[in-house]
C-alpha cells in the first residue's frame, strides 16, 4: 500500500494499533481541509502493529491533548520534505483547558474565566486531579467525543 510522503506537515507515529481514529476525532482533524492519511495496523518492529496519522499541513497540534489521549506517540515535523523536529510525547505533567472539572463545589465550575487545570498526580495510574479542588479527572473521553 502506497501513501505519498508529505512535503510540509506532521506525522504522528507509534500510535497504539486501533487508536488512530480516536485521535483523529479528538484532535479535530476531521475539520481540516488538507489531506490527512489515517494508516492502521502498520507492521512495527517495536510494537508489532501500530497506527500512523499523516497531516499534509503544518497545523498547530495540541501536544497536551495528544500526550493525554495517547502517551508515548512520536510526532515528526516535516518541512520541505525533510524531518526538522521529532518529539517523543509522554503524559503531560499538567493539562490546561483540556478537560473540565465536574465538581459543583469547585471554584472553576462557578467562575467561567478560570482556566481548568489538572496536574498528573500518579504517573503509573495516569491519574490527574484538579488543582483547585483535587477532584479526579473524569474518565478519558470515548472515541466519538471531541475534547
Amino acid at each position: 500500500m502506497k501513501i505519498d510522503a508529505i512535503k510540509n506537515g506532521i506525522v504522528i507515529d507509534h500510535i497504539t494499533a486501533g487508536k488512530a481514529m480516536q485521535l483523529y476525532t479528538m484532535l479535530g482533524l476531521d475539520d481540516l481541509e488538507c489531506t490527512v492519511a489515517v494508516i492502521k495496523n502498520v507492521p512495527s518492529q517495536k510494537m508489532g502493529k501500530k497506527d500512523i496519522i499523516k497531516i499534509d499541513s503544518a497545523i498547530d497540534i495540541n501536544l497536551e491533548v495528544l500526550g493525554y489521549i495517547s502517551p508515548h506517540v512520536t510526532v515528526n515535523f516535516i518541512k520541505d520534505s525533510l524531518r526538522v523536529d521529532k518529539r517523543h510525547i509522554d503524559l503531560p505533567t499538567s493539562l490546561t483547558n483540556v478537560i473540565r472539572c465536574k465538581n459543583p463545589r469547585c471554584i472553576s465550575t462557578t467562575e467561567w474565566q478560570i482556566k481548568h487545570v489538572f496536574t498528573l498526580r500518579d504517573r503509573e495510574r495516569e491519574e490527574y486531579r484538579c488543582i483547585y479542588c483535587d477532584t479526579a479527572a473524569p474518565p478519558k473521553p470515548k472515541y466519538y467525543e471531541k475534547l
Binding site: N103, R105, I107, T110, R121, C133
Partner: protein, 305 residues
C-alpha cells in the same frame, strides 16, 4: 511572598519553628504587642465563621496590627458578581495580608494567583483548612508532647470534613502514626486522601463504623461535626447527623491519657457533660489557635523581633 493554601505548603521544620514562636508568644505576649504595628490584615469571609475569623482578628490585634474585612458574602461585591481574583487584586491595595474563607473549593488558590500580598486559606468548602491543622498540631504538641508513635482516631464526617483531610496529611509525615477512621459508610474518608497520605506513605490504619470497640486504642480522639452546609440533600443530613455522639459512658472506655479534640463548633456530637473531663481539650485547642495564627502572621509578613 509566601501563601498558606494547603498545610503541605509548610515543611515539618517550618511547622516546628511556628510552634516554637507560638509558644514564646503565649509565654511572653507583651514582647510581641507591637510586632505588626502599622500592618493591616484583611479578613474576607464569604462563609460564616466565628472561631477562625475572631481568632485571626484577635491574633492581629495582639500583635499591634489592624484588621478590616467582611463576615459574609452578602456584605461584599461577590453579590454583584465580582470574581474571587478581582476581589483579591483590589484588597491587595488595602492590606498587607489576606485571610480568605470561601464556600467554593480552590478559591484561595485563585486569590493567591491574583493577589500581590500573602493569602491564607481559612477554609475552602470541604477542601482544606490549614490554620485549623496548625492549631491541631500545636494542641497535640502541648497535650501529648510528641507527633510520632500516636494512634489517632478521627470520628464523624471524614468525607467532607476538611480539617480531617489536612490533619491526616500533616500527621502522615511523622513516623509511627496510626490512623483509626471511624465514620458511617456514606461519610468515609475519600479514597484519594487515603491513598495519598496513608497508603502511599505506608501508614497503618483501620476503619470502623462504630466508636465503642476502638476508643480504648486511641491516644487522640478527633471528633468532627456532620456539617449541614456540605449536603445538597437535607434528608441525607438528617439521617447522618447523629451518627456518633460522645458521652461520658463512652469516655469510660478510653485510656486515662487519651485527649479529645474537636475543631468546633460542636452541635451535639459531644455531650456537654464530657466538657468537665480533663481529657476533653477542645476549648484549650481553640485558645492555642490564636497563638499559632500570631506566629503565622509574623512569618508571612516576614516580621521578627
Amino acid at each position: 511572598m509566601r501563601n498558606l493554601i494547603d498545610i503541605m505548603d509548610l515543611s515539618v521544620a517550618e511547622i516546628d519553628r511556628l510552634i516554637t514562636l507560638a509558644d514564646d508568644i503565649m509565654r511572653t505576649p507583651d514582647k510581641y504587642r507591637a510586632a505588626c504595628q502599622g500592618k493591616i490584615l484583611a479578613t474576607l469571609f464569604f462563609e460564616p465563621s466565628t472561631r477562625t475569623r475572631l481568632s485571626f482578628e484577635s491574633a492581629m490585634l495582639g500583635l499591634g496590627g489592624s484588621c478590616l474585612g467582611f463576615a459574609e458574602a452578602n456584605a461584599s461585591s461577590a453579590v454583584k458578581g465580582e470574581s474571587v481574583a478581582d476581589t483579591a487584586a483590589v484588597v491587595s491595595g488595602y492590606a498587607d495580608l489576606m485571610v480568605m474563607r470561601h464556600p467554593k473549593e480552590g478559591s484561595p488558590l485563585v486569590a493567591a494567583a491574583a493577589a500581590t500580598i500573602p493569602v491564607i486559606n481559612a477554609g475552602d468548602g470541604g477542601h482544606y483548612h490549614p490554620t485549623q491543622t496548625l492549631t491541631d498540631l500545636m494542641t497535640i504538641h502541648y497535650e501529648k508532647g510528641r507527633f510520632d508513635n500516636l494512634t489517632v482516631g478521627l470520628c464523624g464526617d471524614l468525607k467532607f470534613g476538611r480539617t480531617v483531610h489536612s490533619l491526616i496529611a500533616a500527621l502522615s509525615r511523622y513516623s509511627g502514626v496510626r490512623f483509626v477512621l471511624i465514620s458511617p459508610e456514606e461519610l468515609k474518608l475519600p479514597s484519594f486522601v487515603k491513598q495519598q497520605y496513608i497508603k502511599d506513605r505506608r501508614r497503618a490504619y483501620t476503619q470502623s463504623t462504630t466508636l465503642e470497640p476502638v476508643i480504648g486504642e486511641l491516644d487522640i480522639l478527633y471528633m468532627t461535626r456532620v456539617q449541614k452546609e456540605r449536603f445538597f440533600n437535607e434528608e441525607d443530613y438528617l439521617r447522618l447527623k447523629d451518627s456518633y455522639i460522645l458521652t461520658t459512658d463512652k469516655m469510660k472506655l478510653a485510656k486515662s491519657d487519651t485527649i479529645v479534640m474537636h475543631p468546633l463548633p460542636r452541635v451535639n456530637e459531644i455531650d456537654t457533660a464530657v466538657d468537665a473531663d480533663p481529657r476533653a481539650c477542645y476549648f484549650r485547642q481553640a485558645r492555642y489557635g490564636r497563638f499559632i495564627r500570631m506566629a503565622l502572621i509574623m512569618k508571612l509578613l516576614e516580621v521578627s523581633l
